[in-house]
Symmetry: none
Subunit: 215 residues, 4 copies
């Protein structure tokens, strides 16, 4: 359980149980949200899909929106973890930057449906929880930004770094988001390769030369 889940009140005291039940709930809810979206999914369905009764569902949350929050939080948590483990700022290099971007794109491929959920449903969260979730998004863009700044061989303005990070961020999401268009024309590998190619080009980096040097 992420620390954040504590924002959601539960009548049940046993923390382990709360975590277990909520994980069931998140899993079930994601399955359903993928299919029909948050609004078209009922709490009864969520309970059933999660393997317990509607009464039990409400022992672990207060409102339906809480489920959405848990789902969004879980998704970002997963992205965050994976991204973090892909980043190694000890040995910064352009190759390293490429590796991170590549990992991120692979991750987005794996999680495309989850990401689509977020895109389409975060807005349904109430102010506070929305703010919370959006902050996590910003954190992740921040991580990409840091990698860019650290790994580039030359200086880049804070603003430009942020722009590039945002671009990478949404290009990753785009793969899932605009899949009907893109996945008809590109394999995942091709997509990643071309996006990284243009990214490096825009950073005025000759990939072959740089790689040679590093080698």
């Amino acid at each position: 359980m992420t620390q954040n889940q504590n924002q959601i009140l539960s009548s049940v005291k046993n923390a382990e149980l709360v975590e277990k039940r909520r994980n069931q709930m998140i899993k079930g809810a994601i399955t359903l949200f993928k299919e029909k979206g948050f609004h078209r999914t009922t709490t009864r369905e969520i309970a059933k899909e999660s393997g317990f009764s509607i009464g039990t569902l409400y022992e672990y949350i207060r409102t339906k929106e809480d489920v959405l929050f848990l789902v969004c939080d879980a998704i970002y948590e997963q992205v965050h973890e994976r991204l973090e483990s892909a980043i190694d700022l000890e040995n910064p290099s352009v190759t390293n930057l490429e590796k991170v971007v590549e990992s991120y794109f692979y991750l987005m491929d794996e999680m495309q449906e989850e990401v689509v959920i977020m895109y389409q449903e975060v807005k349904s969260l109430k102010k506070d929880t929305k703010e919370y979730v959006l902050q996590k998004e910003r954190d992740m863009v921040g991580m990409l930004e840091k990698v860019i700044v650290t790994c580039l061989p030359h200086e880049i303005s804070k603003q430009d770094a942020e722009l590039m990070a945002n671009n990478i961020f949404i290009q990753g999401q785009m793969w899932g988001f605009r899949r009907w268009v893109l996945q008809k024309q590109f394999t995942l590998k091709e997509y990643i390769d071309r996006q990284i190619h243009y990214l490096m080009a825009s950073l005025a980096i000759d990939r072959t030369i740089v790689k040679d040097k590093e080698a």
Copy 2:
């Protein structure tokens, strides 16, 4: 009225009136959808905001989803028109490409909320109408792609052109979509300038030299 609106049946025969009322409806609905999204907006609210009764609303549509379709259709129609009028393929040049991209970004700034609606609600359309709307989106990316191919001084593969078009497309939307992040760090002008800068860089074009030549 776009021809597509004929897909939506109306009990009212007078075509002019249908167009007028539907425009009221679209305007009212967009206002509400911006605020609370499609699902949290009731048909009664739409009727009221549009300036007529619930009964009258249903003289011009069959279901609530029809309103969403009308809204999506209207938004894309507007983007399409504006984009079309910005494109001039008679005198292709890199400057021309830049101009188109610039216009597109300005447009996305004006229509940011409308675009957010689309992003978040298209999914709620039923198969047929969704397919219809997504096709319109593809058309627009196609327009950008054509501009890229035509205006670039050198050859570019079909695949790469499509990728760039998609990138531009979502970078425009991103300005509205991720406004909380971006609009804190960039003015619109700055955003457009830097995005175009990187776009040109990634296309391996030295903007100053090209512009000099053209001049």
Copy 3:
């Protein structure tokens, strides 16, 4: 126009026109009521089927129920006329009685759907109009009763005559009403023949003997 239709107020003064329009209306309404019943038919549909607009419909009636009344009235009027023309009390005879019953059964065959409408919808009329329509029904049973009393060679109590008249009356309707059962087992001719056979038997009349005598 039957005199009774004057119970229904019309804004239109021209009596001929009122009659014409109401006949259109009755025809249209019967078509629809057969299909879907009174409650599932809308006034808009009645107007359309009748060949004029909803506004025009309401120039000739006050409420939807008026249409039902007109329909019921028209149906009974038709039955009444036909029954009357089949009855010839100048030369009473058992054969004559048989003829009347036969005519009535043929009529019920022709009008089976109209009769079903009445059976199922009269109840939806308001007190006054319902009373009016039921009186017409009683009149018709009364006609049958009179034929029985007049044509039988022997005395029959008023009560028994009424009972027989009612029996005949509903046996005629039953042909349409329970058509799914009866029309599978009987041709119309067979049905009429057997019903008359039993009718005469119950009146203790040997048909062949009586007929011989008459001849």
Copy 4:
């Protein structure tokens, strides 16, 4: 609960409770349908009359039409049971036939309003359920037919037996259906007596003789 009620889905799992609630519902609905018919009765009224909330009503049915089906099914079930218990085919005799017909007429007197409901509303059922209910009606006519065939001292054709059964069937219903006419002229006893008299006469049976013999 008749087995047939299982055709109607309920969200509630506890079968006993389902039966109890549905019986409340049927009772409440019949009261209302008697008064105003199916179409003029709202689901809210049914819920209230049944003693629970509208939400609870819909836990036990899917649509308003389900209530009608439940009502029709319950009515026929009751008629069926009563008819069955009145029939004793072990000792067939004309007196026995008379007894069955008598019981049936008494039953129709008790259930006149329920029967009127059926007559007027069955048509509102959708194809499948209507077919189902009509089959039950046929079953009951079949029971009467069997009694006729078994109890008569002489042979009677299948067709004629069926005709008589149908006649008896609707003569019973007629007592409730045309009550405004008949109940003014007849007591129940008189009605039954005369109908049975004519029935036996039409079957060419001298009641006094037959009864003497049996005695």
